[in-house]
């Protein structure tokens, strides 16, 4: 565990042991539910969740250095009470949104700490977070930070934008060069994931009457985020192309056949419906085809049901025939799904 000073806890409150922190400061959870003087913190906690739900970064009021000792703990308290409210509400949508917003907030501090020329300690602390929480060894090299390629890949594969692909990075001697902003951006998703995991792993306290009102308000807030979708029956261009190739008796590659079978199975078609599509293939053998589709469907020996490969993998295999209708999807299964 990383040891934290007061400054660090305020910047990265998710690193604190919540129960221990309250105890060290001489508070109990019960006090927050009942003490009218502390109601302002519960209100702040709610605001913090609300701004997260609305995808804004929570900005507590600016303080001057005289009030630092007072305001820093307040920020930590509002974070901890927000978690209590979220746990009591049990609303996953809000937990995810809150974790992401807190990650964005922490990201700003991390970035500032990485380039902080005035404070060596802040830089070291930020580097330590990279190493201890995300197993990323990060070192300064001039204006850049360098990260070993394997560490980079483990995180960068979560991005779908082309500029995160290794081929679009400055790579030298086994290292990837990143700006401070990019270094922090690299771990954004995991940072959100890490905060989310810590929230989910925390114990849910008993409901106190002082929190009931806020928890109810959270339920109302969450209702806004229910998404209705419609799905078209149209096939994506890669699938259309594969079907066309087979119809023309062209030799569709193994990965092309795998993509087609997994896609159609995913759309609910049966082995009987899919097998005839392959009958024009130059090497068609009904028995083998049916056996292979069954394997893919998880009806074979190993019971593993395979999912349709991602657009990225399809691109690597030269099977992608992207059109504007693809609309930034990352898997053909998402093609034509539209939010209402």
């Amino acid at each position: 565990m990383i040891s934290l000073g007061q400054d660090e806890i305020a910047k990265y409150p998710f690193l604190a042991e919540a129960g221990q922190y309250l105890k060290d400061k001489g508070f109990t959870l019960e006090q927050f539910a009942t003490d009218p003087d502390l109601k302002i913190i519960v209100d702040k906690a709610y605001e913090r969740i609300e701004s997260a739900a609305e995808e804004k970064t929570y900005k507590p009021e600016v303080y001057d250095s005289n009030e630092k000792d007072l305001v820093l703990p307040l920020n930590v308290f509002s974070f901890l009470i927000a978690i209590v409210l979220l746990k009591l509400s049990g609303l996953n949508t809000l937990i995810n949104k809150f974790a992401l917003a807190e990650a964005r907030r922490a990201e700003k501090f991390l970035q500032r700490d990485l380039v902080s020329n005035s404070s060596k300690t802040s830089e070291e602390f930020a580097t330590k977070i990279f190493h201890e929480i995300f197993s990323v060894t990060i070192k300064k090299s001039g204006e850049y930070f360098v990260i070993p390629i394997p560490d980079y890949l483990r995180h960068a594969v979560n991005f779908h934008e082309l500029d995160w692909k290794l081929v679009n990075r400055h790579v030298e001697n086994g290292m990837v060069f990143l700006t401070p902003h990019e270094s922090v951006r690299l771990i954004r998703k995991e940072l959100g994931g890490y905060i989310g995991t810590r929230i989910r792993a925390a114990n849910t306290p008993n409901m106190s009457s002082g929190f009931e009102d806020k928890v109810k308000k959270l339920s109302d807030l969450a209702k806004k985020f229910v998404v209705n979708t419609v799905v078209t029956t149209e096939y994506p261009p890669c699938i259309k192309h594969a079907i066309e190739a087979l119809n023309n008796g062209e030799n569709l590659s193994h990965s092309g056949r795998f993509m087609l079978a997994t896609f159609l199975l995913g759309r609910g078609q049966t082995v009987d419906e899919i097998a005839p599509l392959f009958k024009n293939a130059p090497d068609y053998n009904e028995k083998v085809t049916r056996y292979q589709i069954k394997q893919v469907a998880g009806e074979g020996g190993n019971k593993t049901k395979y999912a349709c490969p991602s657009c990225e993998k399809i691109k690597s295999n030269d099977l992608c025939y992207i059109t504007p209708d693809c609309d930034n999807i990352i898997n053909p299964m998402q093609f034509g799904k539209k939010r209402l």
């Binding site: 890949l153 960068a156 594969v157 290794l166 001697n173 086994g174 193994h254 190993n302 295999n317």
Partner: protein
């Protein structure tokens, strides 16, 4: 396959294995690997475990496999079904095959065999005898293809050692036994990567997915100085060499690129430049962390040639060095319209001829499906 042919191939393969135990070894950490094999006319048997060379040699003598495989992956329980093996890590393996280079010479050493009537003919879309479009392509030996593959292998080694900082001593190259080379990276920090991460590494090596911004062309405000220089590290330098040729031509080329526009540059990077300098590895092989690969020293049933480690790729001649079956004469019936060469000797074309050829050539033609025993 005809029963006589099958018996002949099994006897020959058995003799080869018996005579070449010195070439066939279990790799490091054998107990953590999965083994598998195929027999002629049969499917794959997988999920086996072998401890020592002796176990391997015994397996070869007992089962007389047509092909032998060993995993790149290391597992706690290699014999269990895939989901229960407990994957630890996997060597990074690259496969460069002549068919993926698709060189112009390919049409000259490829013939077709019809699924319906078994007729073997010159390269065309349908069988000239029965008009069926269900055909197999059969490619025969070609030095030009091997030279092309070697060039790709050497380019790959450069990227691995320079860009990825992989130590040369952790790279091993072997001839695949047909028309390609395998390159193994062992004991590297890349071994821990899963297949998703390996796919991005593959795109790096193949120069797949490059965007103009990374290579100097800002969409709205292109600046001459941001284009790559010839002595830049990594892809920047290689792209500059491919685009400009020499330092003196850089300025003129950049002017042309900017005037042609952003989209043209993107297309050039993803098509012409990629085809010219991207390494032509098989992406499915490198992305697979559970694959079993042909074992070094074993024979490849697609050709009867051996898969062999090569210390000096440039000097390695697979059609001599990996052709290890003896030359006792064998009578065969052959009917195919092109020629090939093994051990510096030419064979074919044959028009339904009964001929006597050295055993290595007979095995090659039987494995390729273009001849039968007489």
């Amino acid at each position: 396959m005809l029963e006589n042919d099958l018996k002949f191939l099994e006897e020959t393969f058995k003799q080869y294995y018996f005579d070449h135990f010195d070439l066939i070894h279990v790799p490091d950490r054998s107990l953590e690997r999965e083994y598998g094999y195929k027999k002629f006319n049969m499917g794959m048997i997988r999920h086996m475990s072998l401890k020592t060379d002796k176990d391997l040699h015994l397996m070869l003598m007992t089962n007389i496999p047509s092909d032998v495989f060993c995993s790149n992956g290391y597992y706690s329980f290699p014999k269990l079904p895939m989901a229960e093996k407990d994957w630890k890590e996997a060597d990074v393996i690259f496969d460069i095959d002549a068919k993926d280079l698709n060189l112009p010479c390919r049409k000259d050493h490829t013939c077709i065999k019809c699924h319906s009537c078994n007729e073997i003919s010159l390269l065309q879309d349908t069988c000239p005898k029965c008009k069926s479009n269900k055909i197999d392509l059969i490619s025969l030996s070609c030095q030009n293809c091997i030279s092309g593959v070697k060039k790709e292998v050497l380019n790959l080694v450069k990227i691995l050692t320079n860009d990825l900082q992989i130590d040369n001593k952790n790279i091993r190259i072997s001839f695949s036994g047909n028309e390609g080379f395998h390159l193994y990276v062992t004991n590297s920090p890349y071994n821990q990567l899963g297949s998703k991460e390996r796919r991005d590494l593959i795109d790096y090596i193949m120069f797949h997915g490059a965007i103009p911004e990374r290579f100097g062309f800002k969409k709205n405000n292109p600046s001459r100085s941001s284009f790559p220089d010839l002595d830049d590290p990594g892809w920047s330098g290689r792209v500059a060499k491919d685009l400009f040729g020499s330092k003196s031509k850089r300025s003129k080329s950049v002017t042309k690129i900017i005037s042609d526009g952003y989209s043209a540059y993107r297309q050039r990077l993803t098509e012409t430049v990629k085809n010219s300098i991207g390494v032509k590895i098989d992406p499915n092989v490198t992305g697979d962390v559970h694959r079993i690969f042909r074992l070094e020293g074993s024979l490849n049933s697609k050709s009867g040639l051996a898969k062999l480690a090569c210390d000096n790729v440039e000097k390695f001649n697979p059609y001599i060095d990996a052709c290890l079956i003896d030359d006792k004469p064998v009578e065969i019936l052959a009917n195919f319209p092109i020629e090939f060469s093994l051990k510096n000797r030419k064979f074919g074309p044959y028009i339904s001829e009964k001929i006597s050829v050295p055993r290595y050539a007979a095995v090659y033609m039987l494995c390729k499906g273009i001849a039968n025993l007489a």
